[in-house]
Symmetry: C2
């Protein structure tokens, strides 16, 4: 019964999974959720690839890193593969997320349904602005950032989203790291230093517009890309 789990563990510990593969896993997961809703029981690598603008070989290779989920001649079982991917991505559970910085971007993220849909629940808000502290955003009362460390620990938060101005982001991150958080998503347009056991991802929205701008200005230069 635990063969699959062993297999996954084995594969994971032996092979190196690339960042691109993991990102595509998210895409597959999303596509499978949709396919399941549409009533499909199985799906081929060809169809999955088409929906996410990839190649069938890529899909098969990506999945093969984690096990053999398909049936030759038939394809992959939609519901089952979705479940498997959820487990692999670690989104077969709820994650308690704290959000720091209830400004422009911050407030938008509080109500971002896609987070909830994937199991990420923002359960705590922090800000340093006295006018915001104590106020209520979608049912969550904003805490004083001065209480960051104690409150993060008290609520056993595992992930933090940072949406503060670039100038103060490093100080905030240092506090977050001190509170023992190991996973941070940063929206501030600045490069943050974290110890090597802390996972940090940066979300830089204007970078994407810059890419578009480059593409327009240099029509000829780069390849069409699958975003």
């Amino acid at each position: 019964m635990n063969d699959r789990i062993d297999e996954i563990t084995n594969n994971l510990s032996r092979k190196r999974i690339s960042e691109s593969t993991i990102r595509r896993l998210s895409l597959y997961y999303r596509a499978l959720s949709l396919l399941e809703k549409e009533g499909y029981e199985t799906v081929s690598s060809k169809e999955l690839a088409k929906r996410e603008k990839l190649t069938p070989a890529q899909v098969r290779k990506d999945l093969s890193f984690f096990g053999s989920f398909g049936t030759r001649g038939l394809g992959y079982p939609v519901a089952e593969l979705r479940r498997q991917l959820a487990a692999i991505l670690g989104i077969d559970r709820q994650w308690q997320v704290a959000l720091i910085g209830v400004g422009n971007i911050g407030s938008a993220l509080v109500g971002y349904k896609e987070f909830v849909r994937q199991g990420f629940q923002i359960v705590k808000l922090f800000d340093n602005d006295q006018r915001k502290i104590g106020s209520n955003h979608k049912g969550i009362v904003v805490s004083d950032i001065a209480d960051l460390e104690s409150e993060l620990k008290a609520d056993s938060i595992e992930m933090v989203v940072i949406a503060v101005p670039a100038t103060v982001a490093q100080y905030i991150v240092d506090d977050v790291v001190n509170a023992g958080i190991k996973a941070i998503l940063n929206f501030a347009p600045v490069n943050l230093r974290v110890p090597s056991d802390v996972y940090l991802r940066n979300e830089n929205m204007s970078m994407e517009l810059e890419y578009l701008s480059f593409a327009i200005v240099n029509q000829h230069a780069q390849k069409r890309v699958r975003t």
Copy 2:
């Protein structure tokens, strides 16, 4: 006097610039802006690499695709290189951007300062909600999405940001494409179809949280990555 421009053009038309290189150009640009503010006249590939967590060789190779900007023994002229990169990225000008969908994410983006700082000005808002149409967001009156085509053309908009629900995103994109727009940044968590001459980038914020979740759940598996 136009040697540099010719050189850039030549390099661009001959070589293939990878997506990663372009994304790093954005990082260099940001780092250079900061260095300039800090008063530096020159910067070495070593220092630039350190600031963006890359290798000096990477920095030099990336820049070398576009020309020879540095001086051996000295490094790169900060202000000059910043200007050059702005020109390469196409952000040495203002871009008129329209934003469709004044919901959660949409409203946040209207006031997102980093966009403005890089030359992207949101000058038009659209929504289909009667309660929102006509209302004012940061000085911009929300237009009816029914007038999309005519209004986009009238205001010579060149880029569009889509922040509508996933279920309607494809219809909106079709309209946007019909209006002649060639560059689209999509925040809806769905894969959109566009003709091959339209540049489309997707911003998927929960994908980043999923990556963090994967990283925590599979500590051992993937390499530390530079986000």
